[in-house]
C-alpha cells in the first residue's frame, strides 16, 4: 500500500476543493437556468436579467478555484 505523502494529500485536497465547488455551482445553476429559459420563452427582453440570475452561483466555483490554487502553492 502506498502511503499518501504531503504533496499527494494537497493535490487531492485541491481536487476536492474545485470538484465540490463545481458541483455546488452546477446544482445551484440547474434550477435557475431552467427557470430562466422558461422566463425567456415568455419574454425575450429579460435576457440580461435572466443571465445575471443564472450566473450568480458561478462565484462559488471561483472560490473553489482560488482555494485550489492556494493549496497548490503549498505543494
Amino acid at each position: 500500500m502506498v502511503l499518501l505523502n504531503d504533496a499527494g494529500a494537497i493535490a487531492m485536497a485541491a481536487g476536492i476543493a474545485i470538484g465540490l465547488a463545481a458541483l455546488g455551482t452546477a446544482w445551484a445553476e440547474k434550477d435557475i437556468g431552467s427557470a430562466a429559459v422558461g422566463a425567456l420563452a415568455e419574454n425575450e427582453k429579460i435576457f440580461g436579467k435572466a443571465m445575471i440570475l443564472t450566473v450568480i452561483p458561478e462565484t462559488i466555483i471561483i472560490f473553489g478555484f482560488l482555494i485550489a490554487f492556494l493549496l497548490m502553492g503549498k505543494m
Binding site: 435576457f47 440580461g48 436579467k49 443571465m51 445575471i52 450566473v55 450568480i56 458561478e58 462565484t59 471561483i62 472560490f63 478555484f65 482560488l66 490554487f69 492556494l70 497548490m72 502553492g73
Partner: protein, 643 residues
C-alpha cells in the same frame, strides 16, 4: 458619449387637410417617437385611419394568403434585388388575381391529397395488428349466432372460455380474434374484461388484411407521387414569384401601417395633434420641415416636461466604432435618460477581458477569419439566431484582434509556444512573453486579475457617482458612491497588507501605516454609506470581496482554454505524430478536431464570462437601466426601394 441623445418633447398641431402630408413627413424624417394619444378631454378624439387603410389591409390579407400557400419563409429569403415601390404599386392588383388563380387550385389540391394521405395512413396503421389474420375482414362481423371480439389481451383467457360450455374459437397474434356463441356473448365479454381486453375498431374493409395493406400501400404511393408533383409546381411558382410576393408584402404592410398612423394622434373636427419626442439636435430642421407642409397649416411646438414623472425614450449616442457595443446594452436594459451610458467604456473593457481570457494568436486569427468570411453569420443563422449576428460580428472582430495581441504577449498559438526565447521583450518592466500555464506566473496572473477588478469596480463607482448626482444631487452622491469608493480603497489597502499573514501565517501587525489607513478609510466609508443606505451597506461588504475575487475568472477561463489546447497538442497529437506513418494522419485529425472543439468553447466561454463581469460585477455598482428605446416612425425596407 457617456450621455444618451438629448430629447425634446414636442406637439405637432395641424389642420385636417394637412394630415396625410404630415404622416408622410413623420415617416420620411424618421425622427418622431410618437406618444399614443389618450383621450383626456372633449376637444380631441383618437384619430381614424386614412381612407386608403381599408384597401391596403385587404390587399395585405390577399398577399399573405398567397405567401402562405407558397410556403414562403419570410425570414430566410435572400435579398437578390430590391424591387422599386412604383413597380409594385403598378403591378400589385394584377399580380394578386393572377397568383390567386394559379396558386389556389394547387393549394386546394394539395390540401385534398394531404387529407386523403392522412386517412389512408390511419387505415394502414389500424390494419397492422391484424395482418396475421388470413380471413377476409368481412367475415369478422355481422353474424346472427356468433359474437366476434377483435383486440389486444394482456393474459390468455382460453382456460375460462373452455368452461363456458359453448363453442368458441381463437385466432392468436399481435391482436387476437375471439369467436364465441352469441348466447354466451355477455359472459365472454366479462372474461375478456378480466384479461385486460382492449378492442380494435374494425374498418369498413372487406378484403383480407394483407391484401388491404398491399392495396393501401400502393394507393399511398400514388398519392405521394401526386403530392410531390404539386409541391414541385408550387416550388416553381415560389421561385418565379417569391421575391415579388415578399416585396409586395413589405410594401403593403408599410402602406397599411402608414394609413393607420392617425390612430395614434388626437383629432378634432378641423385639426389634429401629435405628441412626440424628437432628438433635440433635430429641432430646427424639423421645424423648418413642418413649415414646408403645404396642404394645410401645421406647426411644431416645444413642450416642457417633468423629469420626475416622464422619461424620454433612449437613443444611444456613441462614436461610430463603439456602436456595435450598444447591442450589449439593449440585451441588458437601456440606460435611463439621466444615467451614464457605459457603452463607450465597454468598447475598451470588453475586448480587453475577452483577449485576456482567450489570449491565443491561433484562435484569434481563427475568430477573425470566421467573422470576416461571413462564416460566423452563417453559423448563427443555422442556429436560428441570425438576428444577433450583425452586432455580434463586430464585437467578435474587436475581441479577435485583442485575442491575437494577448496571444503574442502570452506566446500561444493553438496552445503551442512558437516565439520561444527568440522573441523576448519587456513592457514596463515585465518580461514578455509571459507563459500563462507555467507555475511561476500563476500568482502574478491572479493578482493582475484582481487589479483589473479593482480598477473596473472603481470606474463603476465613479460612474455611479455621476448617476446619483444627476438624480439626487451632490450630497447623496458623495455619501453613497464616495463612501463606496473609500470602502473599496480601504478594503484593498487592508487586504493587500493582510494577505501575506493569511497565506503564510506570519503575524499581522495592526500598526503598519497601510493597515491603519485601510481600516480608517473602511470605517469612514461604512459610516458614509450607512447614512444613505442603512444596514444594507454593511451587508454588501462581503459582496465586494467576492466581486473582486470574481475577476480571477479571467485567468481561470484562460487557463482552462490553454490546458485543453495543450492536452490535445502534447498528450495526444505530438506522440502520435512522432510515431510516424499513420500516426501523422491521426495526429493531424486530433489537432483539427481538438482545436475546433476548443475554439467553439473559446468563442462562447469568454463571451459569456466577459458579459457576466460587466453585467453582474460592474453594473451593480452604478447601473439602474430601464430606459425605453427611441423608436421613431420610419419605413424599414429590406426587399423594396423607393424610386
Amino acid at each position: 458619449m457617456f450621455k444618451t441623445e438629448r430629447m425634446k418633447r414636442v406637439l405637432l398641431l395641424g389642420t385636417m387637410p394637412a394630415l396625410p402630408e404630415t404622416v408622410d413627413f413623420l415617416y420620411r424624417t424618421g425622427s418622431f417617437h410618437i406618444i399614443d394619444y389618450k383621450e383626456s378631454d372633449d376637444v380631441f378624439d383618437i384619430g381614424t385611419p386614412l381612407p386608403e387603410a381599408e384597401r391596403a389591409s385587404r390587399r395585405l390579407l390577399n398577399m399573405m394568403s398567397i405567401s402562405q400557400n407558397l410556403d414562403m419563409d419570410e425570414e430566410d429569403m435572400p435579398v437578390v434585388e430590391k424591387i422599386p415601390v412604383k413597380k409594385i404599386q403598378a403591378e400589385i392588383d394584377a399580380a394578386i388575381s393572377n397568383l390567386e388563380l394559379e396558386i389556389s387550385s394547387e393549394a386546394h389540391a394539395r390540401k385534398e391529397v394531404k387529407n386523403l394521405l392522412a386517412e389512408k395512413n390511419a387505415e394502414l396503421s389500424a390494419l397492422h395488428p391484424l395482418k396475421h389474420i388470413d380471413l377476409p375482414l368481412a367475415l369478422l362481423r355481422d353474424y346472427d349466432s356468433l359474437a366476434v371480439f377483435v383486440g389486444h389481451v394482456k393474459s390468455d383467457p382460453e382456460a375460462e372460455f373452455s368452461v363456458l360450455g359453448v363453442d368458441y374459437d381463437i385466432i392468436r397474434g399481435e391482436a387476437s380474434v375471439f369467436f364465441v356463441d352469441k348466447r354466451a356473448e355477455r359472459e365472454a365479454a366479462e372474461i375478456l374484461g378480466r384479461a385486460g381486453f382492449s378492442e380494435i375498431p374494425l374498418l369498413k374493409i372487406s378484403e383480407k388484411p394483407l391484401v388491404a395493406i398491399h392495396r393501401l400501400n400502393s394507393e399511398i404511393g400514388d398519392l405521394e407521387k401526386r403530392l410531390a408533383g404539386i409541391n414541385s409546381r408550387i416550388d416553381t411558382l415560389r421561385q418565379r414569384h417569391g421575391l415579388f410576393v415578399i416585396a409586395s408584402l413589405e410594401e403593403l404592410s408599410i402602406e397599411a401601417n402608414r394609413a393607420e398612423t392617425p390612430l395614434r394622434f388626437g383629432t378634432g373636427h378641423h385639426s389634429f395633434i401629435v405628441d412626440a419626442w424628437i432628438p433635440a439636435s433635430s429641432m430646427k430642421r424639423l421645424q423648418e420641415g413642418v413649415s414646408g407642409i403645404k396642404t394645410g397649416i401645421a406647426e411644431l411646438i416645444e413642450l416642457d416636461w417633468d423629469s420626475k414623472t416622464e422619461g424620454p425614450p433612449i437613443k444611444q449616442k456613441n462614436p461610430k466604432p463603439a456602436r456595435p457595443m450598444e447591442m450589449l446594452m439593449e440585451m441588458f436594459s437601456l440606460p435611463k435618460y439621466d444615467e451614464v451610458d457605459p457603452t463607450f467604456l465597454m468598447f475598451f473593457t470588453f475586448p480587453l477581458f475577452y483577449g485576456l481570457m482567450l489570449g491565443d494568436m491561433g484562435y484569434g486569427i481563427a475568430i477573425l477569419a470566421l467573422v470576416l468570411s461571413g462564416g460566423f453569420t452563417k453559423l448563427m443563422q443555422k442556429l436560428g439566431m441570425g438576428g444577433g449576428a450583425p452586432g455580434l460580428n463586430k464585437i467578435l472582430f474587436y475581441s479577435g484582434i485583442s485575442t491575437v495581441i494577448f496571444g503574442l504577449l502570452f506566446d500561444e498559438f493553438f496552445g503551442f509556444e512558437i516565439l520561444g526565447h527568440h522573441v523576448e521583450f519587456s513592457i514596463m518592466g515585465i518580461e514578455f512573453p509571459v507563459h500563462r500555464a507555467s507555475p511561476e506566473t500563476v500568482g502574478a496572473m491572479l493578482m493582475l486579475c484582481v487589479y483589473i477588478g479593482i480598477a473596473h469596480l472603481f470606474i463603476g463607482y465613479v460612474m455611479g457617482f455621476f448617476t446619483v448626482k444627476a438624480e439626487h444631487g451632490l450630497k447623496k452622491a458623495i455619501l453613497e458612491k464616495g463612501g463606496w469608493i473609500l470602502i473599496l480603497v480601504g478594503f484593498v489597502l487592508f487586504s493587500f497588507a493582510a494577505l501575506p499573514a493569511l497565506v503564510h501565517g506570519t503575524e499581522l501587525s495592526f500598526t503598519s501605516p497601510q493597515i491603519l489607513t485601510g481600516i480608517i478609510l473602511l470605517v469612514v466609508g461604512i459610516v458614509m454609506t450607512y447614512l444613505v443606505e442603512g444596514i444594507n451597506s454593511v451587508l454588501e461588504l462581503p459582496g465586494l470581496a467576492s466581486n473582486l475575487l470574481s475577476y480571477t475568472r479571467i485567468y481561470a477561463i484562460g487557463l482552462s482554454s490553454v490546458g485543453i489546447a495543450m492536452a490535445f497538442n502534447e498528450n495526444m497529437a505530438l506522440p502520435a505524430i512522432e510515431g510516424g506513418g499513420i500516426g501523422i494522419a491521426i495526429g493531424v485529425i486530433v489537432l483539427i478536431m481538438g482545436h475546433t472543439l476548443n475554439l467553439a468553447l473559446g468563442l462562447m466561454g469568454p463571451l459569456i464570462q466577459t458579459l457576466r463581469l460587466h453585467y453582474v460585477e460592474f453594473f451593480s455598482k452604478f447601473y439602474i437601466g430601464g430606459g425605453e428605446k427611441f423608436n421613431p416612425l420610419r419605413y424599414r425596407r429590406k426587399y423594396t426601394k423607393e424610386a
